[in-house]
């Protein structure tokens, strides 16, 4: 019996897509938030996002 190579293509999980694309996805959503909250709300939400990323990273 052959053992599959650990370096072979791995199955793709939707959650990893979401997490790996977190930075551009967040940027897109934050920009879209301008429609709801205007430029000042966008600025405030983005500042909160940067603080959160700095804390996690």
């Amino acid at each position: 019996m052959t053992t599959p190579s650990p370096l072979a293509s791995r199955p793709l999980h939707p959650l990893t897509f979401l997490l790996r694309s977190l930075l551009p996805l967040a940027a897109l959503l934050l920009l879209a938030s301008t429609l709801l909250w205007g430029p000042y709300g966008f600025c405030l939400a983005t500042l909160c996002w940067w603080r959160t990323v700095a804390r996690i990273g």
Binding site: F17, R20, A27
Partner: protein, 272 residues
């Protein structure tokens, strides 16, 4: 179409970056809907959007497109060629020239005098100050060095010229739509991507490795093991392994071992 299924992550990441730029442009072009009525509102919007777009562009080209330069994502040549053209333009680079700078210069001559992608050395033997490097490297030093490489035959002049023309066509498009918008939401984020995101990244990945003691210990790169960092940065934190085995796919880097790690493991096994 894709050589590795995991590379769908790279494509999705890039498409989200494209969507973020499209959203920023659309908001600028529809000030009544976005509430960008006066100069203060526009200034706040630009000041917030530039680091946001610049950061994702820096990662999209410095890490994500970087994966493509080492291992092509697609099966077919023309798809790879167009992927490079449509990808690196999001940080104001012709794809071929970024690839030359990274693979033929940085990887081939790491920490040697010919590696012009890294900071210059100060008289004390250390890297020059980080901010000096970040402000002077792109586009000033990089353009000069690429020109020299093309003149010396290290870079294929015909291909470089052709790809630069394609780059100029693609990169100028936002300027044709609205030059003021392009200045604030295209050029300025690209400056941020190169000088802040990629510049800082290049600096910290090799800072300290230029010193004689580090060279004696064959310590050429700094690693960043944070799981969050590696999850969102395509495992680029495994930087020593990446330099020792640049052909290893980004998804395989956590499972691979650098030469030093492999040697240490062998010694442990022999002792056991």
């Amino acid at each position: 179409m894709l050589r590795r299924r995991e590379d769908a992550h790279c494509v999705v990441f890039h498409l989200l970056c494209v969507a973020a730029y499209a959203a920023a442009f659309w908001l600028w072009l529809h000030p009544d809907v976005a509430g960008l009525h006066g100069l203060p509102e526009r200034a706040v919007f630009v000041a917030t959007a530039v680091p946001l777009l610049g950061w994702i562009s820096g990662v999209d080209v410095g890490v994500n497109f970087h994966n493509h330069t080492h291992r092509r994502l697609f099966d077919v040549d023309w798809q790879n060629r167009w992927a490079a053209r449509l990808w690196a333009v999001f940080a104001a680079w012709p794809g071929l020239l970024w690839q030359h700078a990274h693979v033929a210069v940085h990887h081939a001559h790491l920490l040697q005098p010919r590696d012009w992608t890294l900071p210059r050395l100060s008289p004390d033997g250390r890297f020059e100050p980080r901010h000096r490097y970040q402000l002077l490297h792109w586009p000033w030093r990089s353009t000069r060095q690429l020109w020299r490489d093309a003149r010396n035959g290290r870079l294929d002049r015909w291909r470089a010229g052709r790809e630069t023309l394609w780059f100029l066509v693609l990169w100028s498009m936002p300027f044709c739509i609205d030059p003021v918008m392009a200045l604030w939401l295209w050029l300025l984020p690209h400056w941020f991507a190169n000088c802040v995101t990629m510049g800082a990244g290049m600096f910290v990945q090799h800072a300290g490795c230029e010193l004689p003691a580090a060279r004696l210990a064959r310590h050429h790169s700094n690693d960043f093991p944070s799981p969050f960092f590696n999850l969102t940065m395509f495992n680029i934190g495994f930087h020593s392994r990446h330099h020792e085995q640049p052909g290893v796919h980004w998804a395989d880097l956590p499972a691979s071992r650098s030469g030093g790690e492999a040697a240490a493991a062998t010694v442990t096994e022999l002792r056991a």
